[in-house]
Symmetry: D4
Amino acid sequence: MTTVTDLIDLFEAEAARDRPTEEMPDVGIIMGSDSDLDVMAGSESGRPGAFDALTALGFEECTDYDDPPESRYTFETWVVSAHRTPELMYTYAETAADRGLDVIIAGAGGKSADLPNMTASIAYPLPVIGVPVQEKSVDSVIGMPHGAPLTAVDAGKSYNAALSAVQILARGDDELADRLRSLHDERQTDVATVSWSLHDLGTNAFSDSR
Amino acid sequence: MTTVTDLIDLFEAEAARDRPTEEMPDVGIIMGSDSDLDVMAGSESGRPGAFDALTALGFEECTDYDDPPESRYTFETWVVSAHRTPELMYTYAETAADRGLDVIIAGAGGKSADLPNMTASIAYPLPVIGVPVQEKSVDSVIGMPHGAPLTAVDAGKSYNAALSAVQILARGDDELADRLRSLHDERQTDVATVSWSLHDLGTNAFSDSR
Amino acid sequence: MTTVTDLIDLFEAEAARDRPTEEMPDVGIIMGSDSDLDVMAGSESGRPGAFDALTALGFEECTDYDDPPESRYTFETWVVSAHRTPELMYTYAETAADRGLDVIIAGAGGKSADLPNMTASIAYPLPVIGVPVQEKSVDSVIGMPHGAPLTAVDAGKSYNAALSAVQILARGDDELADRLRSLHDERQTDVATVSWSLHDLGTNAFSDSR
Amino acid sequence: MTTVTDLIDLFEAEAARDRPTEEMPDVGIIMGSDSDLDVMAGSESGRPGAFDALTALGFEECTDYDDPPESRYTFETWVVSAHRTPELMYTYAETAADRGLDVIIAGAGGKSADLPNMTASIAYPLPVIGVPVQEKSVDSVIGMPHGAPLTAVDAGKSYNAALSAVQILARGDDELADRLRSLHDERQTDVATVSWSLHDLGTNAFSDSR
Amino acid sequence: MTTVTDLIDLFEAEAARDRPTEEMPDVGIIMGSDSDLDVMAGSESGRPGAFDALTALGFEECTDYDDPPESRYTFETWVVSAHRTPELMYTYAETAADRGLDVIIAGAGGKSADLPNMTASIAYPLPVIGVPVQEKSVDSVIGMPHGAPLTAVDAGKSYNAALSAVQILARGDDELADRLRSLHDERQTDVATVSWSLHDLGTNAFSDSR
Amino acid sequence: MTTVTDLIDLFEAEAARDRPTEEMPDVGIIMGSDSDLDVMAGSESGRPGAFDALTALGFEECTDYDDPPESRYTFETWVVSAHRTPELMYTYAETAADRGLDVIIAGAGGKSADLPNMTASIAYPLPVIGVPVQEKSVDSVIGMPHGAPLTAVDAGKSYNAALSAVQILARGDDELADRLRSLHDERQTDVATVSWSLHDLGTNAFSDSR
Amino acid sequence: MTTVTDLIDLFEAEAARDRPTEEMPDVGIIMGSDSDLDVMAGSESGRPGAFDALTALGFEECTDYDDPPESRYTFETWVVSAHRTPELMYTYAETAADRGLDVIIAGAGGKSADLPNMTASIAYPLPVIGVPVQEKSVDSVIGMPHGAPLTAVDAGKSYNAALSAVQILARGDDELADRLRSLHDERQTDVATVSWSLHDLGTNAFSDSR
Amino acid sequence: MTTVTDLIDLFEAEAARDRPTEEMPDVGIIMGSDSDLDVMAGSESGRPGAFDALTALGFEECTDYDDPPESRYTFETWVVSAHRTPELMYTYAETAADRGLDVIIAGAGGKSADLPNMTASIAYPLPVIGVPVQEKSVDSVIGMPHGAPLTAVDAGKSYNAALSAVQILARGDDELADRLRSLHDERQTDVATVSWSLHDLGTNAFSDSR
């Protein structure tokens, strides 16, 4: 059993600690509930998520602050609820920069999907990318008022949010930019291959071959 | 077989009777059809409802006016249809205060979800919390005109409606307020526990553990 | 010029102070921007708002904590922005109960209308009534997740929100209940009078008389 | 000044009275507020309404039950609010058949446009045609549950509702059927005339001629 | 195999014939496709439809013009597609009155649900009740322009459309009015019986009993 | 004064006549009401319409069948209402091919915008391009069922509908194809010129220059 | 494995080649992903698509540019993604006319369904018919700005898009026009046959017979 | 007069040139039409835009590549239409990185707001922030498919898009981060000042003072 206070203490301790940048996670993934995990991190049976994009780009998940992964690029994953654990959310966002994060990917479902928005407001000027976990969450995530920046992806597109996060990190980092390009080249070849196959086999034979 | 007249007579007799306050239900739960029961009261297989919230807070259901439960806090449950049994609805609402109710939780489905609205209009100034049973019922429930108060929760959130009803009763009642806080503390610890587990195991191991 | 810190200090000082209940406001009205004032408080040219309902029911506005109004029932009004001043919002909500408030009416516009929701989450178990300032704010205000209660009125209906707030206060307070009934009786007579006039004059003459 | 009780007494007295059918109005027009009058009855500056359709078909408005118009076909007009004057609405609908009405045209605005629905439920089996006064009222008016009949026209189309009401009365009444046909013939000739004019003048000259 | 021309010839022949009124169907049920039959006529596994309402009220289906049912009240059922068989639709509507129909219940699905609308335009002044077969058909069915009357029920509510059709026929027909009242009394007793059962057993026992 | 019968006779006479193709209009523009003219033909104060596109491409309007314009490419314009003049619509569509039309541009407003759909069904296999005159007409225009072809443009875009109509005529007609390309080149140069101007002047100076 | 460059080279080579018109496909079918194939080409278990309409009208699929089908009318099918392979899309559209295509049917899903729109912009003045693969793709497909023509069918209606494409080709081609009429006659007889069957058997027997 | 070719040549020349990074603009602002300028750049009478945010943060506009502003941070502004000038859009995006841009802010209106999406697809992996110029543009801008990253702000919020762009540039640039914080501090003090003023004056006096 872990209490909200335990986690708040942890975040504050990490923020106060003076770890070298390379030992701290670059990207933070948070979501309002563990039921959002299939959307936010991807699942074997469903569509890929932020976890899949980041690992495909060579990022490793940091699960222990005192024993970070060896990879040059890392991320962390937490459940933080704006409406059920507001104090935890406040502390997570307030300590984010001091804990080494460069960008946060925040997902929330429902019609009052406030987690990305509040996180962006509190962590400012750290960039936050909002992921509406459901279609009905899009309006709430995207609708920030004048002067309170947040950018958003479409409902359920945490995979794209991770690509966008890495686009931010890739500025001035040729290796990351190259990884982004390689991943894209593979995707393009996949499209071309299936396109040729459909054309060459014809609709009927292609359908049967699937 | 029970007729609408039987129930109307019962409500009027109860209203005329001079029962002590503590023997009368505090909260009334009504719904337009028994097909709304899974939403309004919760179900084992689905999400919890008003029944679950109230019983978690120590309320007991009053099923016999002449033999009320021992609990200090009680509620009652009825099916009342605005469009199929308008006279029954009228009498239920008109007698509500005299039957000891302090707040009514009224749920209705469909696009003409008038039960909460008409109940609020007739039972005024007794507070009524409307529960749209379906997403398409939200507009109809929330859209009361100027001067006709009703507050609403989101579609299907009868659990939250019950919490809101108890927030009303908890004004000046420290015991109820404490019960509300305890219930919330448990919920927060649940969030923190799953959050730590996700972080500590990492996305893959956590997913596998579910 | 007033800073966010000034207001945070004020709220914390008030919360720490040990004022008698009757000197503290009963109802708090907050809104995300002063551009919401016409909706939240009403305006001479537009439809009446929470301010009009409360004053019609004998409430007075508390503008100086050290010199509260003489009225038995009072309210206060503030601008608090969830996304532009998250720390101010947090402190306002966290200190609300200790500052004597019994119910908060919170209004916000836009599609990410998070002020009512976050205030309800932080001030819990104090009841919060959300007012979507625009039609497009309804979804965001009403959509609270399971376990995080908030009730809402329709877009722009801060007048009704104030009536609902007073319905909460009127529980066990016969004077307030009577005031609510009187206000309603006037409204009903207005409807009956115009109805008779339309019928009696006929459509054409009635139209000309307007 | 007229009270709700005055009108309730009037409707009940009329229902108890034994007037000959031809002295009682055939069609009842009700609306939730006199602000609906422009939509429900039509206005000089706006589009025509039920009043215009009925008078074009030879109906006269009955403004005094004791001194009905000489016309063979008559109607009456009242303001009745479901949410502000529920008892008045109940009595209006309950006495409608005994007061001689054959069909009711009921209009209401807002998102909880319950007047047509409740009137139909109470006056059943008298037919009620619902008129959503605003676009946002359509869902609430049309969405009656299984077993509770009401038919509706589009938002603001009280003119068409009146035609539909007369279509009901015209069953087995050749004179009314002929009047409906004549009115339609005029409309068709209007369309043909403007069509020819546009074709014959050409787009430019026709536009200039308007 | 039947051609469109066969049916057109049949309708025209029937219209030309001089059958006694009591041998011709009173109500016509038409739908755009036989895939609409479950909605328009009801199905054993789904919700009841117009067929069920009419037969519950003692109507019999006329399947052979030369050998009509014995019942005093009858109806007929056809598939007519506005967009696939426009000429058939035109003839059906144009001959409807001469074929003895008093009211038409027309259902169509899709977003261009034109069948009810065109039928109403052509069969005018015969009343037509439109049934949107799908939710997305509502706008198209209800949106008739000024001067072209049609009334509509909610998506899929052909059962209610049939009740409304009989309400039209019941004007001046006490037997039909009594049948409508009896059917409603049964429905009200059903509601009251389940309501009492829920209250008396309590939520848990009632749920288990279902 | 022109009657519907006059126009029906005219269309039938034209269809029966044996005019040479080059004397008959190529494109027919129809609309449900002359209030649609600003959208369907364009207006001086508003956005350009089909009339403007066609004349920019060298088409002339045919206003007298017996005295057609000299231009190689011509069009005609009529008001035809599906719901108010169904027989006129039927005849217009049924005779379209015999009257020489190659493509019809049909616009209608409201939520039951059936004119384009019915025209397409009746005039089939002549291609019909539907123009929803209002945003709320889009669904009704585009939603044709399986097997009943119609293509549509966006709300109010009759200008684009005319370009699409000419794209159809331009197949195998190099002169028309060239005219389409020239018109487009002008548009592209307009965009480039304003783009350069904005860049070169800078935002402030450019804004002031407008 | 095929790369985007392979396909681009192929399209450019084809465009440069000087094949006789009758050896080049008339209609191009493209879609954003092979997951769109069931909608764009139809499937055995689902509704028919463009492939089915074209083959029913005697078109054959061209799967090898160097060995075209013998049929007088042919089409080709490719996967082209606007957002994943923009250069491929650009080349496909830019070379379309030179590769002999007369009309393109382009389908795309999602809310940013840009493929039909960009293809129409680049291939102009070649006509493009857009097919929104999902309901949520309709707005994006239909919403072309002033001066950029594209016509669209309803969501998923690629079958109708193919009929519309052939309507374009049928201008001045009596054989194709006859094929379109024959296909329609069959459809009409299907409707008439099922209509008669429903009427003749009656609702119950017809339902049982299905 | 400037042609599309002129601009394409310019962009390609700039991309080929070897300018030092500090002489090239950091941020590119593009929009589909100069009618989007009030939204994309802000206007005196309307709400502030990207231009206002960037200049408030010390950015200067580059209007002449050969004579760049002295400021360390600069931006450029162009009109580029996806549907009217696809080749210009293609070249702008393809040359963006080589012309020194670090992030692009792309705005488009209408329902097919493809400019941000296509620009992001072509300029990848350069980050693009999409601005829906109208509410109806949101879906089209945000709805990118899996694997094609773009982040978006709410309709009309180009000011926020500029803040988000600078958040990207501020990574590892303390001066920019400080400017972002200062701008935010001013905004917070504005909120606090108006909040105190409303509270201290009271609703009536505050309203009068505005």
